[in-house]
């Protein structure tokens, strides 16, 4: 099988964004995933978010591990550089890439097998280091690419396609991300584009470790009765904490939102995310409350979606390291090499 390029035929009437790009310019190759796979909807949401944010596609670096989900970077942002690394180890590669050039936007795409099992350590450490990235887990509760084994996010009691019951406790990556200090944490559902697109947009603009867990049903192995990650199950059990929309500084879209039910959240770069709270008591700035709420709803058998937590003044890894503003990859010998005189002095100290 070889890669299929998508024909680039632009309809003249397609809407363009500020950079003159159409939505098509943010697409990638034709997906080879199963028709109806939740992952494709997530790709579509990423495309939509990047288009609406007027991102120059070549300034986005998309990195992934191994799995169906990790294949998706091929299917969006065709003019961005991509990196399919090894299974579960996308976070370290992304961390390194981010260290080398802090000016690009880093999008890490992973699966629940990739991130919650083999890659759990790397997921955790990239979050706690505050790597400035959008970390999306396309969570289907199974290993899609290796044909349907349980992943570590599969709910206890859920059944595999062959009928075996999962007896292990699930790992909740959102709870972990909150606990590990992610400065932007959300959960969504691949079928809920209205919620997912602004959530991704917010994550892209967030200058810190942004984590989004997207429940993404696997039509091949996890869409049967007894699965807790099927389309039907999630639709029935979806409990949204808030609905959100993204507004850039220049083109505010405020009219759609009724006064009193919205909350403006100013990001580090001045852009604003406007949240509409379904639960008036819910505060997106309170990490502890988010953790409690998540646990509470989970105990009630519900899936919480929406933006659960955001730090409006996040610090990223570069801030922790005190690194220069210039990308490391453009520093040359004049900037980096101390030269022979310094070496002479160094030699003298060793005699």
């Amino acid at each position: 099988m070889t890669y299929l390029a998508k024909p680039k035929l632009h309809h003249p009437s397609l809407p363009t964004n500020k950079l003159g790009f159409t939505r098509r310019d943010y697409e990638g190759a034709i997906s080879t995933l199963c028709a109806g796979c939740g992952h494709d909807s997530i790709s579509a949401a990423i495309i939509q978010a990047c288009f609406e944010l007027d991102l120059p596609p070549h300034r986005v670096a998309k990195l992934s591990g191994i799995g169906c989900s990790s294949k998706t970077p091929t299917y969006f942002l065709g003019s961005s550089h991509g990196f399919n690394s090894v299974h579960g180890r996308m976070p370290s590669v992304l961390t390194g890439a981010n260290l080398a050039n802090r000016e690009l936007i880093y999008m890490g795409v992973s699966g629940d097998g990739d991130s919650a099992s083999i890659g759990l350590g790397q997921f955790a450490h990239s979050i706690r280091r505050g790597v400035n990235m959008v970390y999306i887990v396309e969570n289907n509760g199974v290993y899609g690419l290796t044909k349907g084994q349980f992943s570590a996010t599969a709910d206890k009691g859920s059944k595999s396609k062959r009928g075996a019951a999962n007896m292990d406790e699930p790992i909740d990556m959102v709870a972990l991300a909150l606990q590990l200090g992610a400065t932007y944490v959300g959960r969504s559902f691949s079928g809920d584009k209205d919620q997912l697109v602004p959530l991704i947009k917010g994550a892209i603009l967030h200058q810190g470790a942004a984590f989004i867990d997207v429940i993404s049903p696997c039509v091949a192995f996890n869409n049967h009765a007894g699965s807790t990650k099927s389309y039907d199950y999630v639709r029935e059990h979806n409990e949204a904490v808030n609905s959100l929309d993204f507004i850039t500084g220049r083109t505010p879209i405020t009219t759609q939102f009724a006064e009193g039910t919205v909350q403006d959240v100013t990001q580090h770069d001045g852009s604003v995310i406007r949240l509409r709270k379904l639960h008036p008591e819910y505060d997106t700035h309170n990490r502890i409350a988010a953790m409690n709420y998540l646990q509470e709803r989970q105990a009630a058998g519900e899936v919480v979606t929406g933006l659960l937590f955001m730090d409006t003044d996040p610090e990223d890894l570069h801030a922790h390291l005190g690194s220069v503003e210039a990308p490391f990859n453009i520093l040359d010998e004049d900037a980096l090499c101390p030269g022979s005189a310094a070496l002479e002095a160094f030699n003298a100290s060793l005699r």
């Binding site: 070549h58 180890r89 370290s92 690194s323 022979s340």
Partner: protein, 611 residues
């Protein structure tokens, strides 16, 4: 019993208790001799433990400049009752035992054939100091003072070193000097002179004294590394720590106080190498340092870097394996696991520095090689070079040197219409052009992956695409031959059928062994290999001799295997000389083995000799 007498040529060993503060006193001792113009080569011998257990510091004093380990001990400073029996045994007949005589020991605890020098160190300390820590620390300085009297060490040299160490800290300087003199005066008044002497000489020249890990780390600074990711492991941790130190000194932007470097202590070796690969993919020079167990963990990622062609630099400071093996002992036993690291068909570039100077040079060079070849580069140190101070030529740098960033397409190249295909072998050297992410809005983006791809980096499972790619990687490896440091040859005084191949930290013992063999009328040509893939000279050297000894510090003759594999040499011709008990190889060992094997040529079939 005839006491050993020697001037500027003996071995002294300190047996201490870990955590007693002896390390700095012992280094002071070694450096004082250096300041008198006499070469020394000290070695820390430390079991894998933290506190309270034994450590040793062995100093080879060699006026003729032999820096390898000699074997045997002429003067033992026995400060650890726990290892007393073992330490006593090591002393050569006619040698000396210096010990703390505060508590009398039965006669049976000594040997008849050595000279006993007792000094009531604890008694002196207890009389002089009341604080337990002071008693402990000054005891070390007092014995350094006593030794300087016993061995004729210039006390001014020691005083000067203490002065440099405590510059601006009068509170520490004065009591240290006082303790030094207390030891010296006591020894002069009460102890017999030894037959071992240090006399001023002029054999050190402008050489510098440093350990390989910090030299390699400085090489990384000079070579332009900006990202380092590592996970603690003996004996490589001090490399990362030294890099951090050097960077804080040389790489902080003066105007802003911001750092032109990032050091990440990762969660494990998998993440370390992942970070290195990510950074290098994005155009920053990056490295990790580790030891054998870390290399094992990095295998999958190393294969990715090889196949996706991402420059990466890995310092492997080897220790005793397999498994956790002898974590604080030295070996050269990761040669094969590095050369062929990862699954599938892989081959990697290796560099073998012999001393701190080459650790620095190869450290800097490794980044040029990685960028030029777009592949992992392994710099193979070992504990002996990495963690011991070694005398070597001063480090040097040519300010006109420019970094070789290899084949990179920049914005202007794309604008000027230069064609680009990530894995196209445009120059027939196996090396394709790459470009950093984010370079051009419309051109040059590609997907990096560990799966098979075509010349334009598009996913492909087509057999011919795979084969073409693998063949190109071989071409690239061929190109590497001309880029790695060439071997260094040393011809014997007379024409000879015999040759010896060696590498890395074996070098100082080897040069001494060659002199000794020469003195016995046994002529052997020598080749020190400095890089893999082997340059053509290695094959020619093998062809030019009937028998080649390959001297190395592992059980299985790993370099020999590599030579057999890659130079298509006749194994019967390659005679392994293997030292692998975890201690650095000695000239004595090499000479004994070579003489023994040469003798066997006259009586045994060749195949047996080669075993």
């Amino acid at each position: 019993m005839k006491p050993i007498t020697a001037v500027n040529d003996f071995v002294i060993k300190f047996a201490n208790v870990n955590g007693s503060g002896s390390a700095s006193a012992n280094t002071l001792f070694a450096k004082a001799i250096l300041r008198m113009g006499v070469p020394v080569s000290p070695r820390n011998i430390f079991p894998s433990n933290i506190q309270g257990l034994p450590t040793w510091y062995e100093v080879r004093v060699s006026g003729s400049g032999y820096l390898g380990r000699r074997g045997g001990v002429d003067l033992m400073v026995a400060m650890n009752p726990q290892t007393w029996d073992e330490d006593l045994k090591e002393i050569e007949a006619g040698g000396y035992l210096f010990h703390d005589s505060s508590k009398p020991l039965p006669k049976s605890k000594f040997r008849e054939d050595i000279n006993i020098i007792g000094m009531p160190l604890t008694e002196i300390c207890n009389r002089e100091y009341s604080d337990p820590r002071e008693r402990q620390l000054f005891k070390n300085i007092i014995y350094v003072g006593a030794l300087s009297a016993l061995l004729d060490i210039d006390i001014k040299a020691v005083e000067k070193l203490i002065g440099e160490q405590y510059k601006g800290k009068e509170r520490l300087l004065t009591p240290n000097l006082k303790a030094l003199h207390m030891g010296k005066d006591f020894a002069q008044a009460n102890l017999p002179k030894t037959g071992l002497k240090i006399a001023h000489a002029n054999s050190v020249g402008d050489k510098v004294f440093m350990d390989g890990n910090s030299a390699a780390a400085l090489g990384c600074v000079y070579g332009g590394a900006t990202v380092a990711a590592w996970y603690p492991i003996t004996p490589s941790s001090s490399l990362a720590e030294a890099f951090t130190r050097h960077c804080h000194k040389y790489r902080v932007d003066k105007a802003t106080g911001k750092n032109k470097f990032a050091v990440i202590q990762a969660e494990d070796e998998l993440a370390s190498i992942g970070i290195v690969i990510g950074a290098a993919w994005n155009g920053a020079r990056s490295f990790t340092c580790t030891s054998g167990p870390g290399i094992s963990l990095m295998q999958e990622f190393i294969g990715l870097a090889y196949f996706a062609e991402i420059p990466s630099v890995i310092f492997d400071v080897q220790r005793g394996g397999p498994s956790t093996g002898m974590p604080t002992r030295t070996q050269q036993s990761d040669v094969l696991s590095c050369a062929y690291a990862s699954h599938g068909d892989t081959k990697h570039v290796l560099l073998f520095p012999e001393d701190p100077k080459e650790c620095f040079d190869f450290g800097a060079l490794s980044f040029d090689l990685a960028d030029r070849l777009q592949t992992p580069i392994f710099v193979l140190l070992d504990l002996d070079i990495g963690m011991n101070d070694r005398l070597c030529a001063p480090l040097s740098w040519d300010d006109t040197r420019r970094y070789d960033r290899g084949k990179v397409m920049h914005f202007e190249d794309f604008e000027s219409g230069k064609p680009f295909g990530r894995y196209r072998d445009v120059d027939q050297d196996g090396i394709a052009y790459r470009t950093y992410p984010g370079t051009h809005p419309a051109k040059g983006s590609f997907f990096t992956r560990g799966t098979t791809k075509d010349r334009d980096a598009r996913y492909s499972e087509a057999g011919p695409d795979y084969v073409e790619n693998m063949q190109r990687l071989l071409r690239k490896f061929e190109t590497a031959k001309g880029l790695v440091p060439a071997p260094v040859e040393r011809r014997a005084k007379h024409n000879t059928r015999f040759g010896v191949i060696y590498y890395g930290s074996t070098a100082p013992a080897m040069s001494e062994a060659l002199d000794q063999l020469d003195a016995q009328g046994l002529h052997v040509d020598a080749m020190r290999v400095r890089g893999f893939p082997f340059n053509d000279d290695v094959g020619e050297f093998i062809d030019a001799h009937d028998q080649i000894f390959i001297v190395e510090q592992n059980r299985d003759g790993q370099l020999r295997t590599l030579v057999v594999n890659e130079c298509v040499a006749d194994p019967a011709k390659l005679i392994p000389v293997l030292h692998y008990d975890g201690s650095p190889i000695t000239a004595r060992f090499i000479v004994r083995e070579v003489v023994e094997k040469l003798r066997m040529f006259n009586v045994a079939p060749l195949r047996r000799v080669a075993q």
